[in-house]
């Protein structure tokens, strides 16, 4: 910025002190609560010890990263992270789009409003409450899922679903769809509402079915919105989940399928107090995420869509 070196800057600044003072509390706050932890990632290159603190702890270079790459959990954690993320990208991500497309076909306004009201509700419940519902519904005693399956003669004995590792991914993704589908559809509904009705009329005159109109008009029209959310989702590819997994996978038997980078960082960092090691794992994730986000954004720019 050239303006920053002009001689009048100091004077301008003192002239707008009241305006500046509105911004400074926020800046100081973010400097403390966001930037100090960013500086704190240097711990990843240290053998941090509580008595010496960040300033005095010995430097160990890439040791903590190497330790993670060679850890017995590494491949398992990476696999779970990537698989759960991809499952969410393929199922949880398009679900709200599908719901918005379906809601748009509903002519009865009262019905439409009812469905919207009902589908937004789970979004407002905490993950703790949601996990309580899941435990209850899947439980062996009076769990409705077991009750139904038994009634339909599909199983003889109640199944303890949350103790079977192979089921965990499906449960996790279904619960996420349940919680997010309604709320996620709001943006897409708004985008659909912005499509020029004349396009539908023209297509209708040409004899295109509703399904064809959705495919040829609605979807392409809302594509920019979809792409923006897709970029963000790709940036979050290594954030497979945290609260949901932490709360639903309370049974350690599930760990081979439930352990992802974030839950691993929490476990080794906070619960086992291996601060430097956990910071290194977290930093590894953060750096890859930024790279993914920037790359996705670059690719999307070719379609004239960008986050910034």
């Amino acid at each position: 910025m050239k303006a920053a070196v002009k001689p009048g800057v100091w004077k301008k600044l003192t002239n707008q002190l009241d305006l500046q003072s509105m911004v400074w509390p926020g800046i100081i706050f973010v400097a403390i609560f966001s930037y100090i932890p960013m500086y704190g990632v240097v711990m990843a290159f240290q053998q941090y010890d509580i008595f010496n603190g960040i300033l005095e702890s010995p430097w160990v270079g890439w040791m903590n990263f190497k330790m993670f790459f060679e850890a017995p959990e590494f491949w398992n954690v990476m696999r779970n992270t990537i698989v759960i993320s991809l499952l969410k990208l393929v199922i949880t991500f398009p679900a709200p789009i599908l719901l918005a497309l379906m809601l748009n076909e509903v002519g009865n306004m009262a019905f439409k409003r009812f469905i919207q009201t009902v589908s937004y509700l789970p979004y407002f419940l905490s993950w703790v409450i949601v996990s309580g519902f899941v435990f209850s519904l899947l439980s062996v005693d009076n769990g409705t899922v077991n009750f139904l399956l038994e009634r339909l003669n599909l199983i003889q004995e109640p199944v303890n679903f949350l103790a079977i590792p192979e089921y965990f991914w499906s449960i996790l993704v279904s619960v996420n769809v349940w919680k997010e589908i309604g709320f996620g559809s709001i943006v897409y509904l708004a985008a659909i509402a912005g499509v020029d009705p004349a396009m539908y009329e023209a297509a209708s005159i040409d004899g295109a079915s509703r399904f064809k109109q959705i495919y040829l008009i609605t979807l392409p029209s809302i594509a920019p919105v979809i792409i923006i959310f897709m970029i963000l989702a790709i940036g979050n590819l290594l954030s497979a989940g945290f609260e949901d997994i932490l709360l639903l996978a309370t049974n350690p038997i599930l760990r081979p399928y439930s352990d992802v980078i974030d839950t691993y960082v929490y476990r080794v960092g906070i619960l086992n107090a291996r601060f430097s090691y956990a910071t290194a794992v977290g930093l590894f994730k953060a750096v890859i995420s930024v790279i993914l986000l920037v790359t996705a954004n670059k690719i999307a720019r070719r379609a004239d869509v960008s986050l910034w």
Partner: protein, 296 residues
Amino acid sequence: MRLSLGDKMMQRTIYLLLTLMAVVMLYPFWNALVISFNQGSDTALGGVTLWPRAYTLENYYIVFQDRRLLNSFMITILRTLSGTALSVFFTALLAYGMSKKSLLFRKQYMVFFMITMFFSGGLIPTYMLIRALGMLDTFWVLIIPGIISVYNMIVIRTFFAALPDGLEESAKIDGCSNYGIFFRIVIPVSGPVLATISLFTAVGYWNDWFTGAIYITQDQLLPIQTLLRQIMNSNIMTEIGSSNAIALDHMNRNRTITTKSLTMATMMIATVPIILTYPFLQKYFVKGVLIGSLKE
């Protein structure tokens, strides 16, 4: 408009699917409510789905004997109210400053804020900071780290930037300072956006359990969601029984209470504020999402 046969079939299918979805959306909540009003021992026999079979209020009666619960409820109310007030005030103040084109270093400040949306130090360095600040096991840790939300700042700033210039001009001519304009003119006309952001923030504070789980170890400071999680992973019956004679006596005499029935009642109590405010939440959240998704 006349629909072709194919279009009609598609519509029928959509109505059917949406109705099914509504049932799936509501059922978990309804079933938990039913179980909370049903005798625990009866629930354990199975088959309690849409209506209580052995209706009772005793689960709620026992849960209300648990002093930890009422205390956590109060802590969470206090946290939500003070946290929301502070957060919305400082975020709006920041947003107002950032909405002014005349603000020196505006671009640099914006970059400074935007970076935090895409990169963060992560869990452990944040934990070390909170510890170094002496905020572990204090009420403040439940409020302060969440005060400035960059995302909310951008939403409010977009709204402020769209206000007509004329609104502030006359006040400026009358010699009003930026603070005067902010408090007397801008805040009063920003009701809807501030209400939306307040609700976003309040729901966030109310539903947050993780802050309590990692920074709080004392029972008397636990937010309700964190306590609820502890209850779900422990034996609530012995815990209430060991601290409350009335509850212990009742449980010993009746033997109809189970951990599950008590947990469900606790969950319902923790959800009441969300349900009571849901009509507002829904209305304002929809608005908020739409303001937030506008690109500048």
